[in-house]
């Protein structure tokens, strides 16, 4: 019979036995003391036996070993006819907070190394899970170590990028200030030209854009044959808005180094139209403010990554990095 059933049966019998007595206190106390001693002996014996027995438990570590990829976004350009974009610099290889082999190695070196010499003690990875045969005490420590691993890898960041126009009153402030006060930031960020928020992990390349995409008649592809020629209209797209690509690398705690490619582009509409021998084509003009730089920024503070405070259509790009 199973233990819970025995316990329940005991509970029932005990209740029935006592229900008919007026005073069960003293005999019960004596019996309880005796039972307590018995239990303590059994616990000591069971603990000793349990500590010597290798048992199997499985741990799902797929969240620790999932690979992170970069998510860069290219700054778009108007390109000449027959333009072939050069190969972009290679993105970094996807990486994991913990490689499963390293995790196993870590467990074996950090958690009671001698215990892994016991017969039957072993760690086998299968489909994102670890099948661990170890004594109970080691399992307890592995649980704590995995909890620590999860805590220590939880380094999420978010980066707010906003482009704000520069008015007469803002030029001096924005020309000289590194970081804005909360009030200044709130006022400037109240009406951004465009804004995008990126979110990911420490060291991951994040990208995003917010704005408007405009299709246009870009060009004609001509084809010629004996006695005939044709112009095949070719469409294009041009983006108008904010583009942000940021790799945020947290430092010891108070800030982050941000590697940024930031741009605000504004396409004048309607697009100008130009006649050709085959018909009209559209010729966009894209105004832009582009900042490509890395810098250190305090977390939670809004900094002026760059911009233009005097010139045509002045604007600055504000960046706020936060740890999540």
């Amino acid at each position: 019979m199973r233990r819970p059933a025995l316990l329940a049966l005991g509970l029932l019998c005990g209740a029935l036995a006592v229900s008919g007595q007026e005073d069960a206190g003293d005999p019960l106390l004596r019996e309880i003391d005796r039972m307590k001693r018995l239990l303590e002996e059994r616990i000591a014996k069971a603990a000793a036996q349990a500590e010597e027995r290798v048992v199997l438990r499985t741990y799902d570590v797929s969240d620790l070993c999932t690979r992170l990829s970069d998510h860069g976004v290219a700054l778009e350009n108007l390109t000449p006819s027959k333009y072939e974009a050069p190969r972009e610099a290679d993105e970094s290889e996807p990486w994991a907070a913990y490689e499963i082999d390293s995790l196993i190695e870590l467990m074996k070196s950090a958690v009671e190394p001698a215990s892994w010499e016991m017969e039957g003690a072993d760690i086998q990875p299968k489909n994102g899970r670890l099948f661990i045969r170890a004594i109970p005490r080691v399992h307890g420590r592995i649980e704590r170590m995995l909890a620590w691993c999860r805590t220590s890898m939880d380094r999420r960041v978010s980066v707010d990028v906003a482009v704000v126009p520069v008015g007469d009153g803002d030029a001096a402030l924005l020309a000289n200030a590194l970081e804005l006060t909360a009030d200044e930031a709130r006022r400037l960020l109240a009406q951004p030209l465009a804004a995008v928020t990126l979110s990911g992990f420490d060291g991951q390349l994040l990208g995003g854009r917010a704005g408007r995409e405009i299709s246009y008649l870009r060009d004609y592809e001509v084809e010629i044959a004996d006695g005939a020629a044709i112009a095949d209209p070719a469409g294009g797209k041009v983006f108008s808005g904010c583009t942000a690509e940021v790799r945020a690398c947290l430092d010891g705690g108070e800030g982050a180094i941000l590697h940024c490619q930031l741009e605000m582009s504004r396409v004048a509409e309607p697009l100008s139209v130009h006649p050709t021998a085959h018909g009209p084509i559209e010729l966009p003009t894209k105004r832009l403010t582009r900042v490509q730089a890395s810098f250190w920024a305090p977390l939670g503070r809004t900094v002026v990554a760059g911009g233009c405070t005097a010139g045509e259509e002045p604007c600055v790009i504000l960046v706020t990095a936060r740890r999540r």
Binding site: G10, I32, K36, D226, C249, A293
Partner: protein
């Protein structure tokens, strides 16, 4: 089998007592109730042990602590950024990240070696371990050794790696006699007297800022900045000819307009001086571009406008405006002013 029967009997007996006590305790015997609570706890612990969920000791018996130091900011490559330019070598006409991104202190393994040789070298020979782990360093060491490694990384490596410069670039158009004074100051700082003359001339309409840009940059990194426009123009037509037919293929070009620059500010141990290299291009296009009728190939556009290229390499004072260069054309004299301000990484 004996053991299992024994356990079963004990659990049944414990259950019996607990059941009895549930009623007895209900009659107000506090002492009895406390004993029963204790008994219940012991019984639960025994059940847990028999099920194999023993507790683990909290402290490493070797006195070693597991610690993880994240160094993403130190080993992530710091890319140089290349601005737009006419086709040069394999660089994109529109620029971007350079192929190579130098790591400030090298790979995780190289940073590990710096720490191992700089922080308590004897500790690593006597049981403490340090190993690369993903984007971080993993230490299995006494707490004081871990603290020393963390402090070394924060103070000796991080402060330098995060040194940032707020770089301000201005283009000032000036008339005489201010232009002569600025020309004489080229390569040097703008002193308070010259600054006052600039403000005075600006109020009189004899000087104006035609551009004021700024960008944050890590020390030693090349950055790129562009405030201007890309404008599509039909600049050519490729003609194809076959038997009894011919066709003109319009060629769309892109003009790069506005002010753009690449700059590299290098702050040495003495942050009072900053080494600055800057390449600035400034292009304007007359609008609308002149049209040229070509007959069968259609109308082409012939862009024209002012352009300037300036390269300057100089020492500047921290937080001081410096006249970096001058350009003069069509009676207009324009001066490139720079002010680097070191704002991060002070020891």
């Amino acid at each position: 089998m004996r053991s299992r029967l024994g356990s079963a009997a004990i659990h049944a007996a414990a259950g019996f007592l607990l059941g009895a006590a549930a009623l007895a305790g209900g009659q107000g015997d506090e002492d009895l109730r406390e004993k029963l609570i204790e008994l219940e706890s012991l019984s639960a612990r025994l059940r847990a042990l028999e099920a194999g969920s023993g507790e683990a000791p909290a402290v490493d018996e070797r006195g070693l602590e597991l610690d993880r130091i994240h160094i993403t900011d130190l080993h992530a490559g710091v890319p140089d950024y290349v601005g737009p330019r006419p086709r040069v070598g394999e660089t994109s006409v529109f620029g971007g990240r350079a192929e190579e991104a130098p790591q400030t202190y090298g790979t995780v393994e190289e940073i590990l070696e710096i720490v191992r040789t700089s922080v308590r070298p004897e500790a690593w020979e006597s049981g403490s371990q340090i190993q690369p782990f993903g984007q971080s360093l993993l230490l299995l060491a006494p707490p004081d050794v871990s603290r020393a490694a963390r402090a070394f990384i924060d103070t000796e490596l991080r402060l330098d790696a995060r040194r940032t410069v707020n770089l301000q670039i201005g283009i000032l158009e000036a008339e005489e006699p201010l232009a002569a004074a600025l020309a004489a100051a080229t390569g040097g700082d703008i002193d308070p007297a010259l600054r006052a003359r600039i403000e005075e001339a600006a109020q009189a309409g004899k000087a104006r800022r035609v551009f004021d840009g700024r960008v944050l940059a890590l020390s030693r990194q090349q950055i790129a900045f562009w405030h201007g426009a890309q404008a599509a123009t039909v600049v050519d037509a490729d003609v194809e000819v076959a038997a009894r037919s011919a066709v003109a293929d319009p060629f769309v070009g892109v003009e790069l307009l506005g002010t753009r620059f690449e700059a590299r500010a290098t702050v040495a141990d003495d942050p009072a001086r900053v080494r600055l290299r800057i390449s600035l291009a400034s292009d304007e296009m007359d609008l609308p571009p002149r049209a040229a009728e070509t007959g069968d190939t259609g109308e082409l556009q012939m862009p024209a406008g002012a352009m300037a290229r300036i390269d300057a390499d100089l020492w500047t004072g921290n937080d001081r405006w410096t006249v970096a260069a001058e350009r003069s054309a069509h009676g207009r004299r324009r001066f490139l002013l720079v002010r680097p301000s070191v704002i991060g990484g002070a020891r």
